[in-house]
């Protein structure tokens, strides 16, 4: 058929002069998606779930930035001192969970030297002769690493002293003069040297007094102090400065930790759980979204090909799918992890090996359902090619069903991922995941329940809101439910 070019000006509207009796629509037309949106909005639980879901996702993106500092692995000894800190917040102080208190159990003498008002007796065990006390753990830690007194010697306990390197010592001294704060409460070498001078003066005085016993005592004291000075001097020469620190001040000026306050507590190696949790959330969400995206693409493409063409193509693909479906996910996951090591990419790969089967089967059945409809025949008669029919005519009809399946598939991926990382089968090494946080938390739940609680709340909230949201969406996209709810 040859194409004729007709000038546009030759076209005339034949109805232009006539009055059209049919009224134009006063209201806007409501399409499939708009209708779904209206009906989704009516479902209050789903709307709330969607809001929670979005806020959790936003927190996963920006949450880690709220915690500006991190003591990295190089400073592990420093971080270790603030490990297992319970949650504390000055704003939420009235809630017991955020009071920063922790119960400690041990011998009576361990707590007898703590300052007045710091300990609160909870219980006393007659058999083991141990007490359980409640302390403000933040104060307790500050006390422990600065001024705790040994119950036996009645002097400062070894934990009260800190070893600094030469650079740390110099930096600390500089901060002290710069900001006019006291960080070093006691410097062993400096104090010992000062004491030595005093004792030597006392020795001179004693020699002047002529009392031989006093001279001997003073000489012994000088000798003992001299040895202390020598030991400290040797350590300093070796680069170890032994001091008693105000630990939080030290962290503040040396590592920019303004205030040691963990909103979700800290884990067993002194990392901020708030930051860890949102970083884990990032991993979980990223993995599940990329898995969903890949599976949708593969599933829809393969499903539509197999559904549209049918015949031998369909038969072969069905047999392949059957074998793949028989492979247990556990087998795929463990084998891939053993072969390629633990990394998020391998996990995504494992999920996408068989994950697309469901979506593919769904798309296939939808294509079977629509491909013999009259409108498809009409499109074909008008000369539309296979690809056009598939993606302009059949696919839009199937998209609602596919969306709802996919929305409910994502929480399934999160569920499986967190389950396997809880089991330790998925283990990203340095990258933390919510499942691993929970399995770490389970080990210490007796003493630090919050380490289990926060990840548990997070994962439950995420799963609940995803499922509620998905259910709402499914009902909204289901045209047969239209008008039923009212």
């Amino acid at each position: 058929m040859s194409q004729q070019k007709i000038d546009k000006s030759k076209f005339v509207l034949i109805q232009k002069q006539k009055t059209i009796l049919d009224e134009t629509f006063k209201t806007k037309p409501i399409g499939y998606y708009k209708d779904a949106w209206y009906r989704f909005k009516k479902n209050k639980a789903s709307v709330v779930a969607a809001i929670i879901l979005v806020s959790l996702m936003i927190m996963a993106v920006i949450g880690p930035f709220f915690v500006s500092y991190e003591l990295d692995d190089q400073h592990a000894p420093w971080a270790q001192r603030i490990a297992d800190m319970p949650p504390k917040s000055d704003l939420l102080d009235f809630i017991p969970l955020w009071s920063g208190e922790k119960e400690l159990t041990g011998d009576v003498q361990n707590f007898s030297n703590l300052p007045e008002g710091m300990v609160e007796l909870v219980s006393f065990n007659q058999i083991t002769n141990q007490v359980t006390v409640k302390v403000d753990y933040y104060e307790y830690i500050a006390h422990k690493y600065s001024s705790i007194i040994d119950p036996v010697t009645q002097d400062f306990a070894p934990t009260a002293y800190t070893n600094l390197t030469a650079t740390e010592y110099a930096n600390t001294l500089q901060s002290e003069t710069e900001f006019g704060v006291t960080i070093i409460l006691e410097d062993v070498l400096v104090d010992a040297q000062a004491d030595l001078i005093l004792l030597e003066e006392a020795l001179v005085a004693a020699q002047a007094g002529g009392n031989s016993n006093a001279i001997i005592a003073a000489q012994a004291a000088v000798n003992a102090k001299q040895r202390e000075v020598d030991v400290a001097q040797d350590e300093v020469d070796a680069g170890i400065y032994t001091v008693r620190l105000d630990y939080y001040e030290f962290l503040k000026y040396e590592y920019d930790i303004d205030e040691v306050r963990f909103f979700f507590g800290s884990d067993g190696s002194g990392r901020d759980l708030f930051k860890e949790l949102w970083q884990g959330a990032r991993v979980s969400l990223l993995i599940s979204f990329s898995v969903a995206a890949i599976n949708i693409v593969i599933g829809v493409v393969l499903g539509s090909i197999s559904g549209y063409y049918g015949g031998t193509v369909d038969l072969v693909m069905e047999r392949v799918s059957e074998i793949l479906a028989g492979l247990p996910f556990l087998a795929i996951l463990t084998l891939l992890l053993l072969r390629f090591g633990n990394s998020p990419f391998v996990v995504v790969l494992a999920f996408t090996m068989t994950g697309w089967l469901g979506i593919s089967a769904l798309t296939r059945s939808q294509f079977y359902r629509y491909k013999n409809r009259e409108y498809v025949l009409a499109a074909r008669t008008l000369g539309a090619g296979d690809r056009r029919i598939m993606y302009r005519h059949i696919f839009p009809s199937a998209v609602g069903t596919i969306i709802t399946r996919v929305i409910l598939y994502i929480p399934g991926v999160i569920f499986t991922e967190s389950t396997f990382s809880f089991l330790g089968i998925i283990n990203y090494g340095d990258i933390i995941s919510v499942g691993r946080l929970m399995s770490n938390g389970q080990l210490v739940m007796k003493s630090s329940f919050y380490q289990l609680l926060f990840p548990a709340i997070f994962i439950s909230l995420l799963m609940l809101s995803f499922n509620l949201f998905g259910n709402g969406l499914r009902d909204a996209f289901n045209p047969s439910l239209r008008g039923v709810e009212e």
């Binding site: 028989g326 492979l327 084998l335 053993l338 089991l423 938390g441 329940f449 548990a456 609940l464």
Partner: protein, 319 residues
């Protein structure tokens, strides 16, 4: 019907063989395989190399592996545990089975009952309460339910002494507390199955209740109760019963997560150990075990459809 069963059994045999072969090849090709399996003892190494046909093509090794299994009548030996794999399975499967069987059979009447109740009281308070509970226990992962239960029951309320189940020796010494220690994992399993079952039952029954033959049965004079019991329930149970029958097969495979949380010495724990210790011969056997269980469960589900629902005639399409 008989022809269909035979056909399906053959198909399963083929599928299982392909899967086992794939898994076998994959494990054999692992870079760490030789070091992990052969060990350091040169004498054992030579024997094993001989026995497993090292240096020959992988396909041939596969047949040697099958041959060894058939000839020795077992699944081979775990070098790490220094035991016969068949013995391990025989020891561990009953533990998992014992743990699974009780929650499974108690949850079926409860789940179906709750589902019926919710469907009959659709959009009333009862339905809302049940549905909320269902969505909660379906969404919240079992490891959250399990660990929370452990914390509150053991450390806060102090009802049970230990969060973990008793080992065999302790169990014999103190059977009362031993049984108590199995309560928590069983409860977690129970709650999970009930939630799933209630949801399916409610969905199926509401669908049946709105269909037209229900209207007919009411018009011809049956009471609500009669028509529900005689007509609605039978139809609603058609899609549920096969999956319940298929679930029977899965009873012998342990739940990894529950066994890990409560330290149940079942088959799930063996799998985790095998994975962590690179115990490849054991891993291979266990994966085969899981594959066969999964395939058998599917087969049982498909076959029981034909038995339960007379509308589905197996293999009738060809005639």
């Amino acid at each position: 019907m008989r022809n269909y069963v035979i056909k399906r059994l053959l198909l399963i045999w083929v599928t299982a063989s392909i899967i086992v072969f794939l898994v076998f090849v994959f494990i054999k090709l692992l870079p760490q395989y030789q070091a992990a399996v052969l060990g350091v003892d040169p004498e054992i190494r030579i024997i094993l190399e001989e026995q497993e046909g090292y240096g020959k093509p992988v396909v041939e090794q596969f047949f040697i592996w099958i041959q060894n299994m058939v000839r020795e009548g077992g699944l081979g030996r775990s070098l790490k545990l220094k035991r016969d794999i068949g013995d391990i399975l025989v020891e561990k499967i009953p533990v998992s089975f014992r743990l699974n069987v009780f929650p499974y059979f108690t949850s079926i009447p409860v789940g179906i009952g709750l589902g019926i109740w919710a469907a009959l009281k659709k959009n009333k308070v009862t339905d809302h309460i049940i549905s909320t509970g269902v969505i909660f226990f379906i969404s919240v992962p079992s490891f959250v339910v399990g660990t929370m239960m452990q914390y509150y029951v053991v450390y806060v309320w102090k009802w049970i002494e230990s969060p973990f189940v008793f080992a065999e020796t302790d169990f014999i010494a103190d059977p009362v507390n031993g049984v108590l220690s199995y309560l928590m994992p069983m409860l977690v399993l129970f709650v999970g199955i009930v939630a799933g079952l209630t949801r399916v039952m409610r969905a199926e029954l509401t669908e049946v209740l709105t269909s037209e033959f229900m209207l007919l049965s009411r018009t011809k004079g049956l009471t609500q109760r009669q028509s529900t019991v005689r007509h609605a329930l039978r139809n609603a149970l058609v899609p549920i019963a096969p999956s319940l029958i298929g679930g029977l097969v899965s009873l012998i495979s342990g739940s990894l997560i529950i066994e890990r949380i409560f330290r149940v010495p079942g088959i799930g724990g063996v799998y985790l150990d095998a994975f962590n210790n690179f115990d490849y011969s054991l891993l291979m056997a266990l994966l085969m075990f899981y594959t066969i269980i999964g395939l058998t469960a599917t087969l049982v589900v498909d076959l029981s459809y034909g038995v339960i629902d007379p509308r589905i005639r197996m293999g009738a399409g060809r005639r």
